[in-house]
């Protein structure tokens, strides 16, 4: 047990050092970053953060990203929940093929899909809207959501479904009242993964937007200018991209930690 904790702590040091370095840099001026290695900021400054939080062209990037990420998570979960239930409970024509086909959609290299996506959303009049990015991200998030949810749902004994039907529950009522609470952990984990993959994706989000729905990841490329990299500003923006995700995982942690309530049902 002791050895395990030590190994875990060593890993966390490895995990946190690069992040510490990012935070450290975000509190420094550019001159200090480039003038040499300092473990702590000599003159800590919040100027980098101030620039970002007062300039709409910066902070709107965060708002835009959050909007399409939330949209995508809601869409992904609401279409994936019934589908995952179908896969975990029923046999139907082509079920295995569809299941595997879904996964193949996560495998397409995004680089080549840029042009077709661009043409498609332009034709639909959705270019540079949040919903366009949310829908594009469904390409990889919906299959993932189905896969994770199916795994969790298969762990719930089928006797529960049968008992509920005998007790006179209709399918929608059973699904929402009894089944969903049973897989809370799975829903939490799935929502977290959808949020995460949508939040960190850059290539599609950048291609499908111009100004109105421009994501933060794309705004960050502005720090490369003729005068060179603005490392401090970039680091501050990077630190701020970690915040929303950290908040989400904080809410999800209990669902994950509690696990299934199987033994108690």
């Amino acid at each position: 047990m002791k050895g395990r904790s030590v190994a875990l702590i060593i890993y966390f040091v490895f995990l946190l050092l690069p992040i510490y370095w990012l935070v450290n840099m975000s509190l420094k001026t550019n001159q200090e970053i480039l003038s040499g290695l300092t473990l702590f900021p000599r003159e800590p400054t919040l100027a980098n953060f101030q620039t970002i939080l007062t300039d709409p062209s910066w902070y709107m990037g965060y708002v835009n990203s959050l909007i399409y990420v939330v949209m995508n998570t809601v869409i992904s979960l609401s279409v994936a929940l019934p589908a995952a239930y179908a896969f975990s409970r029923f046999r139907f024509i082509g079920d295995k093929h569809v299941f595997f086909w879904l996964l193949t959609n996560r495998m397409a290299p995004p680089a080549v899909f840029l042009l077709p996506f661009f043409q498609l959303y332009q034709a639909l009049g959705l270019f540079d809207t949040h919903i366009a990015v949310a829908l594009a991200h469904c390409l990889f998030n919906v299959p993932l959501a189905v896969w994770i949810l199916e795994g969790f749902m298969s762990g719930v004994p089928k006797e529960i479904d049968e008992t509920a039907y005998i007790d006179g529950y209709s399918f929608p009522r059973f699904f929402v009242r009894i089944f969903l609470p049973l897989i809370k952990a799975g829903i939490g984990v799935t929502a977290f993964f959808c949020f995460m993959f949508s939040w960190v994706e850059l290539l599609l989000a950048r291609t499908l937007t111009a100004t109105n729905a421009k994501p933060i990841a794309s705004t960050m490329t502005r720090t490369v200018s003729a005068a060179g990299m603005d490392w401090g500003l970039l680091a501050a923006a990077g630190v701020l991209t970690i915040v929303p995700g950290a908040l989400v995982i904080w809410f999800v942690r209990n669902y994950m930690a509690k696990g299934f309530a199987l033994g108690r049902v």
Binding site: F87, A108, V112, V142, M196, I242
Partner: protein
């Protein structure tokens, strides 16, 4: 578990089917169009058959990128899967420690990929980065910008840093789903820690491990943003992985025909390998259950 035969279940799957079909089939058809034709404009196009495929397959640059890609994905799976399982087992099971460990573990996953690249680009630098500076301070000459081995190590360590937490979180969720009664039964039988792992924890993690291996394989096989930011594919071509090679041809040179041909080959490789993984792992799992 016995499943009920019921084709009405298709109605439950339909929304997913529609959404994914729209965003997958239409783009895929466009790619196929480009792969078999020489397109100058919608009216001005020529059928070229397998010409693009032939020229692309004879290209040494593609062979190099392909080999590097395979070695990279192999190394990544070899390191991240065992490390992820070990860390998931070491994670505290409950209490505030568990919450803290989970939140910390998830941090790297929530950083946009270009930022991950930026973090490591700086962190691994010998002059202004703590990591590069530390390695050099230990007496090991290290500079990822001109040494291919160092560049490779940097990318691998970055990927381990970035993606092992995904494996950990999946395994952890799988572990927490094991009812306490299993452990109590094992304790009564006097099972060793290894036996508990081998006969209770590992089989119960089968589902999440399948997802973890598939995800890690596919994503490491498509890795683009992070190495592009850190090394730009260099030094030389040392870290030019398949998608960097592809993007060079598609966006850099605008050779859409060859690029589409490469993407189809790319897609087929991932498809075949994932299919193999999927079948092998599901079969392994049923063997354990029996």
């Amino acid at each position: 578990m016995d499943k009920i035969e019921n084709n009405k279940a298709w109605f439950l799957v339909l929304p997913v089917f529609v959404i994914v079909a729209i965003s997958a089939i239409i783009p895929l058809m466009t790619v196929v169009n480009y792969a078999f034709q020489d397109i100058f404009s919608p009216q001005d196009r020529y059928w070229v058959g397998t010409e693009w495929f032939e020229s692309v397959l004879a290209d040494d640059d593609l062979h190099g990128a392909l080999i590097r890609q395979f070695v990279f994905s192999f190394v990544i799976l070899l390191v991240e899967i065992p490390l992820g399982i070990a860390l998931a087992l070491a994670m505290p099971a409950r209490g505030w420690r568990a919450s803290l460990a989970l939140v910390l573990m998830a941090l790297p996953l929530l950083i946009p990929w270009n930022v991950v690249g930026t973090i490591w680009q700086v962190f691994a630098r010998a002059d202004i980065g703590l990591g590069g500076w530390l390695v050099n301070a230990l007496g090991i000459p290290y500079n990822y910008t001109n040494d291919p081995v160092a560049a490779w190590l940097t990318i691998v360590v970055m990927d381990v840093w970035h993606w092992t937490p995904l494996v950990v979180l999946l395994c952890y969720a799988g572990l927490r789903a094991i009812p306490d009664a299993y452990y109590q039964a094992a304790a009564i039988d006097g099972a060793s820690a290894w036996k508990v792992f081998r006969y209770i924890e590992l089989p119960k993690m089968r589902g999440v491990l399948l997802i973890a291996v598939l995800l890690r394989f596919m994503d490491s096989f498509m890795i683009y943003t992070e190495p592009f930011v850190v090394t730009g594919g260099g030094p030389g071509n040392a870290t030019t992985f398949l998608s960097i090679h592809l993007t060079k041809i598609a966006i850099g040179q605008m050779d859409l025909g060859p690029a589409a041909a490469i993407s189809i080959i790319y897609f087929l490789i991932i498809l075949t390998l994932s299919f193999v993984f999927y079948n092998v792992m599901t079969r392994m799992g049923t063997g354990e259950r029996a």
